[in-house]
Amino acid sequence: MNMLIMLWRNFWGGARTLRFPARPKVTGRFRGQVRFDPSLCTGCAVCRFRCTSRAIEYKAGKGEFYWSYDPGQCTFCGRCVEGCKAQALSQESACPPIYTNLGELKKSYTVARKAPAPKAGAPAAKTSAAAPTPAPVPAPGGDE
């Protein structure tokens, strides 16, 4: 009897379906594609080390480096985002789009290396105005 009551309520309550092509909103914490900000990246390649599925490629060159990311290979775990000290990586809260050719979504960048930030301990070198990284320059052998 409960089943018939439930069916009656469903029938008159209207459908709770999303009409195609409407899609539901995802929360802000949804882990979508990784977004890369070349101006913040220091070229440390920790993201490539931490990546679980080799979606991130990094090749060092003279004065510049090559960084690429393939969302088709990515598993959206977020380890690269957590490991980036420069906070150059973030994850968008949107589903990755469908595609028809392999490698279509791959994004690659060639980033020129920036001049290194002045080391801490030098007497008058606390020039943080021109420092490229927002994180403070650590002493060697830091707190990793």
Partner: protein, 172 residues
């Protein structure tokens, strides 16, 4: 293009029947595929039906990085799907083998074995992304049959040996 072909293209876009096959996946994508039939996402509003037999289906949905044990099964099932067909690779695993990239038990990404039309990335992809992928595959199917503009009657050549092998086993 005459009336019959135009009608056939319209019907193929509006009535995609799926067959779902798991080639070694962790079942995350399979669960999301079945979730797309639930009331919130409702794949049936597009006419999508999950069929029991590959012979009934137009669109083959494959999940999982293709393990070595499943390669023959994938090829056999692909050949068993009749007529104009499309393949959707659901999840990142069939496209690029995702996290299992160095595994000894895998036989590579899916498009090494069968032609893939649509890739739906995600680990697992959301059900609405899967429905979008299937709708795109249905459009590709309709365009492909419009380009051929004839009722297709023969299977691809590499399927001929597979069919002969399969019917040989059955008749023996």
């Amino acid at each position: 293009m005459n009336l019959w072909n135009r009608m056939m293209c319209f019907c193929r876009r509006k009535s995609p029947w799926l067959f779902h096959m798991n080639s070694g996946s962790c079942n995350g994508c399979d669960i999301e595929l079945v979730a797309s039939l639930s009331p919130r996402y409702d794949a049936e509003q597009l006419g999508i039906r999950l069929e029991g037999s590959p012979r009934h289906a137009d669109i083959l949905c494959i999940t999982g990085p293709v393990t070595k044990n499943s390669v023959n099964a994938i090829k056999t099932v692909y050949c068993q799907v009749c007529g104009p067909k499309a393949v959707v690779a659901i999840g990142s695993c069939p496209a690029t083998t995702n996290v299992f990239i160095d595994s000894r038990t895998l036989a590579g990404p899916l498009n090494k074995h069968i032609p893939v039309d649509v890739f739906v990335p995600g680990c697992p992809p959301r059900p609405d992304a899967i429905i979008q992928g299937v709708a795109k595959a249905a459009e590709i199917l309709a365009e492909r049959s419009a380009a051929q503009s004839a009722v297709p009657a023969v299977q691809e050549p590499e399927c001929a040996e597979a069919i002969a092998a399969e019917s040989g086993e059955v008749h023996s």
